[in-house]
Amino acid sequence: MTGHILDEAAIRELAATPATEFVIEARDVWKRYGSNDVLQGVSLGVHRGDVKAILGPSGSGKSTFLRCLGLLEPIDRGEVHLEGARVGVRESRGRFVPLAERHLARQRTDIGMVFQRFNLFPHLSAVGNVMIGLTEVRGMSESDARTTANVMLDRVGLGKRASFYPSELSGGQQQRVAIARALVMHPKVMLFDEPTSALDPELVGEVLTVMEELAREGMTMIVVTHEIGFARDVAGRVVMMDEGRIIEDAAPDEFFSHPREERTRRFLEAVRS
């Protein structure tokens, strides 16, 4: 089976994990900046093919949590597991210590990340942005990487824009290149950090469409978002974060029609109005 976005190999890889196992899991994650406890014991697991949406006010720790899951920030306490194996640390004399950056780099290749501000490399064309992981990390030859990257760009609808530079692309196109750049590495899970928050309203749709298609094709995803519609229609579970904690975790129907927490209710009212 081949999807519109994922190729056969990627879908086979995704299917290789048993659906009952968490692809990525946070266990009691704590993170402090200075005297500020940004994350206060966050636990969350995502099964294969599931989509979790994370909602919450700014400053609730959503983005920090995603960066911790993506191994971009060391955590102070707790554990991150990828397909059942603990990541981000190594054992040394019975204690766990953070891995060196180059070892972390290897573990990060299994996790795809998409950022609010796209973070495309401005000195590389669209295809250059998608290729760079293949050549620099996967050790693929320049020509193979270019072919693979072009196919990937085609799948997110940007085949004709391959030679364009980020400054020549709209926000929606840039974000789709950023998604292609992450997907081409065949990640086991995709983490989206407010992928549509920096976009003009009329460009949000094209990015959400790609993400919906990805979800349909079985990609495991965690999406920090303010898009209520996306959370309701695409996510299997919706999570509410506030002050560094998960305060509600429910199926979308229940989450949006009967939120248990007063805090969630107030937040939903605020974003809907």
């Binding site: 960066r67 993506g70 971009l72 950056e101 180059r102 780099a105 290897r106 573990q107 990060r108 290749t109 996790i111 795809g112 990340m113 950022f115 501000r117 973070n119 495309l120 490399f121 401005p122 000195h123 590389l124 064309s125 760079i132 992981g133 620099e136 990390v137 030679s163 364009f164 530079y165 980020p166 400054s167 020549e168 950023a178 750049r181 992450a182 590495m185």
Partner: protein
């Protein structure tokens, strides 16, 4: 007015000025290149997490920017051999001494330019590269360095031009660069206007050639699909 065109032309085409220009260019390029490498190390140290490295870098920049270049040249060329007899040998040539002094001086300025450049590269760039799984050196070489280069071309070019002219101070080490040779010719001919005029023109020509190189380099660092194409000097002139 007493300006002898014939003497001026002779000065312009004289072996001593042409040879001087070659040494001036060599000294500039060597000290700039060495200063750039040292400056990059200093710039990275300057924002290091380790306090010792930050302090070392700060102290270096403080000393080498603070002491006049002329004194630094005298220190390397005359004071150091007085302190260390090993430097009184033949191999410690005027060129070597000048290159060392100017490179150490240049490093302090380059460090500050590069530090500013590093700070100007959006943190999100590093984050995105790391998220792709790129190891630290790849992140620097493929993502940070090109963006650093682009923002630092103008201040670096400025710095290079300054250095090119500062090499004239190396005449105090008896290095036979452009200024030394000009002065030698003046003191035997007493034709000031002609010889200084010729030397001034050589400096102007060198700076102009370099400015062309700068435009060419800046064009290479315009990141649009249209800007590619032949990167010729002729297009750079057209700016």
């Amino acid at each position: 007015m007493d300006f002898q065109g014939q003497v001026f032309l002779e000065a312009l085409t004289s072996q001593s000025l042409i040879r001087g220009v070659q040494i001036t260019v060599a000294l500039t390029v060597v000290s700039f290149a060495a200063g750039l490498v040292m400056g990059l190390v200093l710039a990275v140290m300057r924002d290091s997490r380790l306090r010792v490295l930050r302090a070392l870098s700060w102290t270096y920049i403080w000393i080498f920017r603070g002491i006049p270049t002329l004194i630094q040249l005298f220190i390397v060329w005359q004071a150091l051999p007085q302190l260390f007899p090993a430097l009184r040998e033949q191999w410690f040539s005027p060129f070597l001494a000048s290159a060392i002094a100017l490179a150490f001086n240049e490093a302090a300025y380059a460090a500050e330019i590069l530090r500013g450049g590093l700070l100007s590269v959006d943190e999100g760039q590093r984050v995105a590269a790391r998220a792709l799984g790129m190891p630290p050196f790849s992140v620097f070489r493929r993502v940070i360095a090109p963006q650093l280069t682009r923002v630092t071309i103008p201040p670096m070019a400025n710095d290079f031009i300054t250095l090119l002219k500062i090499t004239s101070l190396a005449s105090v080490t008896s290095l036979r660069e452009l200024m030394t040779n000009t002065q030698a010719a003046v003191s035997s001919s007493f034709r000031f206007a002609e010889w200084y005029g010729a030397a001034a023109i050589y400096y102007l020509v060198l700076v102009s050639i370099f400015m062309l190189g700068q435009s060419w380099l800046e064009r290479r660092y315009v990141w649009t699909s249209q800007a590619r194409g032949p990167r010729s000097l002729i297009r750079a002139i057209g700016r």
